[in-house]
Symmetry: C2
Subunit: 450 residues, 2 copies
């Protein structure tokens, strides 16, 4: 039995070998690790150490490690190898992973490597598909069965043709035109009588996706139907590839991270470690966009400068009115964005969501408005101040509810990622409307406040 390794211990061990300059031992040590662990380890090393190690590893070992990295990381490591060596590694890799690596290289370099690859002809077609489509994450289909085969013949066929295929647990059945007509799982094949035909034991309801399906939708189908693999077909229903569940898992994590980062207004490729300049590039532009909207809100406040000069206590409660609206809007917006991402709601249900959220905003606003209004009254001893704050908060929570529903659904309708831009618009709405409601009411009723 093997426990997942303790990465810290492993890192200590490799550091000792590197300090001793024993790169052969270091390369050998990485070879003995699970490729996923070897990949993480190589990624954390300095480029000079990386170069010493990867040039000492066998193509098939390195292929296993590269398969566990994302394309960008593997392409970076690949720069330490010469063209022929890199081509040898890519030849040993799963086709979809090799394509990811080539896709991250300079076009001229990628072409040079591809020319040296034995598998060039098989993987070249995969290079044509967009990275975030079913075609971009699929692998080449395994050899397919024909419906007239007997179970005994299918066993012979598998023994003959499947030595190269990686973990394949479903066998696909094609008709004479190459169209997908059924699927047999390996267990069903083992349980069947040798004389039965594939036609008798195959399942005909094969869930499949088109090659241009967005990867997020592919991941949703995996999750919904509990699949281990999903066949990919072209416009004429010909089987052109297979997406496996490990790729779907990567997509699910990637898309969740993307949504989390976008909701927090950080670019999706942010990393906690990595070049400082990259971190600034993934964050500062967002702060500037926010700043622009903050100036909108400031301009609204500026309209009421005279009111604030006369009743400075308004400045004390301003952030509360805007902040509560912002928080409530963020709640509604986040639930909408996540529900849209998981396919639990679609834009056609926006109207129903709006009515619900309006009511929730009104009730939460009533509760908070009364609460804050009472505190303000007691604090400052002025009931009118309490009333103004209470009304402004209630109103702003309704604004928050409306913006929280309409902004993400409108963006979705416009085919813009709702996670990407919703925060900006919702916060702007609650800031501007919060200040306008609060300071506007105070200006109207200023005689009661002086």
């Amino acid at each position: 039995m093997v426990d997942p390794i303790k990465m810290e211990d492993a890192l200590e061990q490799i550091e000792l070998l590197l300090q001793a300059g024993d790169f052969d031992a270091a390369a050998e040590y990485i070879r003995t690790l699970h490729p996923a662990d070897g990949a993480e380890m190589l990624n954390t090393l300095e480029p000079t150490d990386q170069a010493e190690i990867v040039t000492r590893m066998e193509p098939d070992d390195l292929a296993g490690v590269f398969e566990q990295m994302d394309g960008e990381e593997a392409a970076e490591l690949g720069q330490h190898l010469d063209v022929q060596a890199l081509a040898n590694v890519l030849d040993e890799m799963e086709a979809d992973d090799a394509v990811d690596v080539l896709g991250e290289m300079e076009p001229a370099d990628a072409t040079a490597v591809l020319e040296q690859m034995d598998e060039a002809n098989t993987i070249a077609p995969l290079l044509a598909y967009p990275e975030d489509s079913a075609g971009g994450i699929m692998n080449l289909p395994p050899p397919s069965l024909r419906r007239a085969m007997t179970v005994a013949e299918a066993f012979q066929f598998i023994k003959k043709t499947y030595h190269d295929a990686s973990e394949v647990f479903y066998l696909y059945v094609l008709d004479r035109y190459g169209q997908l007509i059924g699927v047999v799982n390996l267990r069903a094949l083992i349980l069947a009588e040798p004389t039965q035909t594939i036609d008798e034991i195959m399942m005909r309801d094969v869930i499949s996706v088109r090659v241009d399906t967005d990867q997020e939708e592919v991941a949703q189908i995996f999750s919904r139907y509990d699949l281990l693999a999903l066949p990919v077909v072209d416009a004429e229903d010909h089987l052109v590839g297979i997406v496996t569940v490990d790729d779907a898992v990567d997509v699910i994590e990637e898309e969740a991270t993307e949504d989390i980062y976008h909701l927090a207004q950080v670019s999706a490729d942010s990393e906690i470690f990595g070049p400082i300049i990259h971190s600034i590039r993934t964050r500062l532009p967002w702060l500037y966009v926010n700043l622009l909207t903050a100036f909108f809100a400031a301009a609204v406040v500026a309209i009421f400068e005279d009111t604030i000069a006369a009743v400075a206590v308004l400045a004390v409660f301003m952030p509360i009115v805007a902040g509560q609206g912002g928080n409530a809007g963020n709640q509604t917006m986040t639930i909408m964005v996540r529900s849209l991402a998981l396919g639990e709601i679609d834009v056609s249900q926006a109207w129903r969501a709006l009515r619900r959220e309006f009511l929730i905003g009104l009730l939460n606003g009533l509760s908070l408005g009364i609460g804050v209004g009472a505190v303000a009254w007691l604090w400052e001893g002025n009931p009118m101040l309490g009333l103004i704050i209470g009304l402004a908060i209630m109103g702003n929570l309704v604004v928050a509810a409306i913006a929280g529903v309409l902004v993400p659904t409108t963006l979705k309708r416009l085919n813009i990622d709702p996670a990407l831009a919703s925060s900006i618009f919702v916060t702007t709405a609650t800031d501007v409307m919060g200040f306008a409601l609060f300071l506007g009411l105070a200006t109207l009723l200023i005689n009661w406040l002086l």
Copy 2:
């Protein structure tokens, strides 16, 4: 070939049947759907319609549908069935899913149903494990091989014992003490010669988890090592269960949703549709907690009321100083929380992260501070106002960086979910410090502002 169904069309069809009062046809229609689609459909129907339909469905069809729901939803639907009927359905379900349903029922009801189940003895032990541990999401292990078996014997064994086992693609090998010593995948078995022994073809490096491992860690292992199934062992290495990748996918989505909702300060079980009162309960308490911290910030502003009364324009820029700090803090905090959740960073690296974020905060703060300061200078014609705002923003971005790193790592160290509470503390820090820096500097330098 089957496309994933269009849920809207299917819902229209079932509504027609229900309006006609033809519940037999409605039940039959749901039977023809993929269980995942049937589950979604049943979940959207009114309770009275649900009752009419589930009482008309066969136990094994209903079992398939229940397996696709979460335990709570299935337990709710199960209330429409009598004890014996529900027991029959649970008997047909995967053990882990049946346990989830029982876990969501009133203890007395669950006991009554369990007593009527044929499988009571096999699933009772599973009830003992916490819901969010490996034990809570695992299924019963499939029949295991012994190392001395030949491949031919293994085939016979599988044919005899695997008719009930669901999608199993790995075969586990136990020694005479029931300890896990190896794994054989079905494809390897098919490719082997009939006379080879299991000992010759099994892989000895089996990654496994202990039964008390947290489900989030289980999901991370699936994702890291690209597994389809993961054996679960007790303290003595005895095989006690199997977690399959579809369950890991559910956990990954569930944990991501939980983090997204907690970061937005909404309870994890929020739903876009469902009872209004539930939505208020999952959101209003968070707004009140925020309110409490907003009063802290307001109290800071109140200290400087005289300054604001004298220089009302400060109120115009107040929200910008606090807001930019809040946004930057949210960026750092979100990257930290997500990196901790994905296991890309652990708390021991907090110091390294802090140094990086400090530098990023300083540089971003410099850029924003100069930008906003210049705008304020030009807008109000007062260079000192620009300087004060610029310094306050720069300072607040450094505060944001420090809070954004220290709050999540400290919570993690205290075994509190960082996603759950980080927002509150980080926002409080940037609000309070933002106002204090800005208004404090303005008070010190007030003679330059009048």
